[in-house]
Amino acid sequence: MSAVTARNLWKEYDSDVVLENIDLHVPAGEFVTIVGASGCGKSTFLRMLLGEESPTRGELLLDDAPMPAEPGPDRGVVFQKYSVFPHLTALKNVMVADELAGARLTGRLFGSARRQARERAMDMLQAVGLDHAADKYPSELSGGMQQRLAIAQALMKDPKVLLLDEPFGALDPGIRKDMHALILDLWQRRGLTVFLVTHDLQEGFTLGSRLLVFDKVRHDPQAPGAYGANITYDIPLQRQNPALYDEVRERVAAAEQETLKESTR
């Protein structure tokens, strides 16, 4: 469990400002959902938390220390796709974390160490309801099962922070409900700090303990890249508020329209 802090955080690509002046403190154990129009910088923000991208300006802290400049085992991740290794069976996808830690040179375990890793991986597969599919390759799994596998794999390192970028975006609504139950259960039992980007506002509002809305506050019609997105709503979700939900939905829809206009111009 870890806290995340951003101070005056900016991200620019060349002259395009993606995020501007983000200030945020997320205490350990919070489940943050992030919504916003597509292209507004949600994934970019997550990539900065991962260490895949570095801030252009400002500070990003993990437990008061600067965010490491490359991905590491303290921050787990689940992407919308390509999260699991296609050449490994479900079991081996989950086992690989222990194998990498146990054998720096070969990345493979043998004998009793292997049995132990196998058992731990089986337990994790069971926790996400995939024990029956242990020997299947990812291409033989449904979309929902693949994402379960990706979550199981990410949790093997006991990350302090779990980052999910539209993890359920490609799933059917029914399966999505199951996945919500799974992720909430894992969050509560393991005391993770979670950041989940979603396209589904309903999901954003119901899933976590705090909702962030990313949006541009300023627009320059001549130069769409001149201004970046900021956090326009920061809503604690214990007190749910239908009026607020409608307001945010309208704003996000308007922002989508704006993006569409800008990109067609």
Binding site: P71, G107, S139
Partner: protein, 273 residues
Amino acid sequence: MKRIINQTPNRPTGLALGLLPFVLVLLVYMVASAARLAENPNDPLLPSLSAMAESFQRLATEPSRRTGDLVLWVDTAASLTRLGLGVLISMAMGLMVGILTGLIPYVRRAFSPFVAVLSMIPPLAMLPILFIAFGVGELAKVMLIIFGIAPFIMRDVQQRVEELPTEQLVKAQTLGASTWQIMLRVVLPQVFPRLLDATRLALGSAWLFLIASEAIAATEGLGYRIFLVRRYLDMETILPYVAWITLLAFTADILLRLITRYCFPWYGGGRSR
């Protein structure tokens, strides 16, 4: 009546259709050969199938009068050794260079343009240089194959590595993998079937370079034999040899496909090629 793009033959029909061109070519050959031989029984150009079969059997089972060798097998062993060495070394180099240039930005910057230029050099133009540098022995022939196909394999492997989704590399890092471990457990196994694909595609060129170098300087080998007996218009040897080389090439292709299928069951790509 359905559009022709929506009509597919059933299995037996498909098989028959596949065989049809072979049968046609064979028939045309037999008719032409019979016509020529009817005019002149000693015509060397289009020998009859039975004459070729006899000649092939002689080459495969009767020791040569001059050297006492079974010519076909000596030639086949010599050629396959050169080809195998050249292809294996090219694969090893392609795998190593391709993975390093594909995965590590510093190595890519340093070597990628070099490999690109290297692959532009027409290998056959290098042949005289190779003969001068390495002599007319085995080494030059193997080097020509390496020159001919290693750059292609390197570039193909590099491209496959670059095509791996970034998500996977990031994921591996969040699981604590070092660069070495990423190469070993993420990149290598995923690139290996693609290496086999690339090798399959390069095999045709490898044969080309092998036969070219054998034609110019060798004392045995499939290519050497064809070009040797060409002087006597010995079609009875040349045609069966060409068929034999084709069979060997075809077998190598099938073997690589089978290895890919059985060793990498998760791999679906490249099957149609």
